[in-house]
Symmetry: C2
């Protein structure tokens, strides 16, 4: 598949950071940035630009509430560096602390929102847009919030925002290629002048094939992570996606080096990927939190009991 | 997806046996047979029915050249037991040692063949058919042998064999959903009166989505293995497939028990699944042997060198 408009965004540190409370060293983040930049990736999402006052008492590393100086340390001077993206959550950013794009070390801001928060997300996106950033709106949990309110949210993104792309986010990893085909065509009825994006989760080993399916139907902004590192089951793997895209500007080999040098070892210390409770949550279309909680208990591998508990939740 | 004609075949012991030289105990095979039977699976492939004289000096467990008495020990008396299938390779079976179906403990024989061996495969299939077995022909390496000779092979399967199904086997795990759509429609031009089957490998995390895609286009015989256990990257996982099929006769929970009780531990001792050299082989459409050999060496995680060596092989 070759299409010039396709942009690949690596969100290993941002979504992968949900696995380890964003506790990566600056050196590690710099190493990943060098690798994905050498691979020709277009955007590198370095973390959340939320504000720490919204997380009193919480413990986390530097990439949950990125400081501009840390972003600079991790990225300055890297040859052919990918553009830097940060993600923000609705209601968790002190907007007065955000510098204009010309004075900051990142170029793109992605606003993550559930359908019900879309008004606030658009207002926030427009403020970042005013400050000179490239912006996207990432509509989360799109398998759950799939009623007419989703149409309205997509219509608002088209008509009220200046985002360059509207992302469809399969937060629960519950969609398959037939769902993706329908969803992209549905989105296109509303989002006519902006790009569409896709962010998958790999609960059912479908994140890559769903990304392929989104490409087939015209989606151009594609999220992936090195070795699939991301919350719970993780994401579409960057190495698979780059291998699929035939654009000669991508080179999978620096990503292979990152996996060999860093991510095999990291996976030994932190859990993500094809794990049965996450698979069950994906099959049932549920938020990953119950499975994440289960994995911290002695019953972590009692799959049948978890399956039955989740199934009974659904039938209440 | 609910379609009455769909048949699920579990080949955990047969394809998974390629991981451990078919060295499963009778008790383990019986446990798996009980589990997949309780899950409502239609067929259970217990191994190869090849003849040991074709493997002089080789060491392997009981399920590479299954004896009827071992099959009986592993399966007799199991409640609502799935039908038993065995696989045979062209040229590796002493046909005179095969009893009629009425006197043997298995009901189905699947003949595995490359396109170039299809004449012999059909002759063999017809002999098994004469003996009263249900039969299929499984065309392997269908991504490689994809020229006009494949059309001819499929036409021969239709017109010269009595197989109930013709399987399309993505031996190298290199196909994606667009390939599957084209392949199934191509096969249907020739195979008009028999069922089609699909057997995927998971090198690119596409075995499940390719199986879904084959279902969408009318394939009714579906292979899967518990926790994906199979050669190299393994197969479509049975637990994902049963969760996708909405037929109430399937119950994923006994498969979850097998994973919790047996396959997590087994995966700790034997390697299959998403492993980067197998991913590379899948992306490049290569036979898994080079990656399998690599994993036995100290360079097992030198992905870049393996990638470059495989790529240069292709450009020779």
């Amino acid at each position: 598949m070759y299409r010039e408009q396709i942009k690949v965004l690596d969100c290993t540190i941002r979504d992968g950071g949900l696995v380890n409370a964003h506790d990566f060293s600056v050196e590690f983040v710099r190493r990943v940035y060098q690798g994905v930049s050498a691979a020709g990736v277009d955007y590198f999402e370095i973390g959340y630009k939320n504000s720490p006052e919204f997380f009193p008492g919480a413990k986390f590393g530097p990439w949950k509430c990125c400081k501009d100086e840390d972003i600079r340390k991790a990225t300055q001077g890297v040859e052919n560096g990918a553009k830097i993206s940060v993600m923000v959550d609705v209601g968790r950013v002190d907007m007065d602390a955000i510098l204009p794009a010309s004075k900051s070390p990142f170029q793109m801001v992605r606003v993550a929102s559930y359908v019900k928060g879309i008004d606030k997300a658009i207002a926030m996106e427009n403020r970042f847009s005013d400050l000179g950033y490239e912006t996207t709106i990432n509509i989360m949990a799109i398998s759950r919030d799939a009623g007419p309110e989703l149409d309205e949210a997509m219509d608002q993104c088209e008509t009220q925002s200046r985002a360059m792309a509207v992302y469809l986010v399969d937060s629960f990893g519950s969609l398959d290629q037939e769902d993706i085909e329908r969803l992209v065509h549905r989105a296109r009825r509303f989002v006519k002048t902006k790009e569409l994006g896709f962010h998958g989760h790999n609960n059912q080993q479908l994140a890559f094939s769903n990304t392929i399916e989104s490409i087939i139907h015209g989606v151009n902004f594609l999220d992936a992570t090195v070795y699939g590192m991301g919350r719970a089951a993780g994401n579409c793997t960057l190495e698979l996606l780059l291998g699929f895209l035939k654009n000669p500007r991508y080179d999978v080999r620096p990503v292979l080096d990152l996996i060999a040098d860093e991510f095999i070892e990291l996976r030994g210390r932190h859990e993500w990927g094809y794990i049965i409770p996450h698979m069950i949550a994906g099959q049932l279309g549920l938020h990953p939190q119950d499975a994440l909680d289960l994995r911290k208990t002695p019953e972590r591998d009692d799959y049948r009991a978890f399956h039955d508990r989740m199934t009974s939740l659904l039938s209440q």
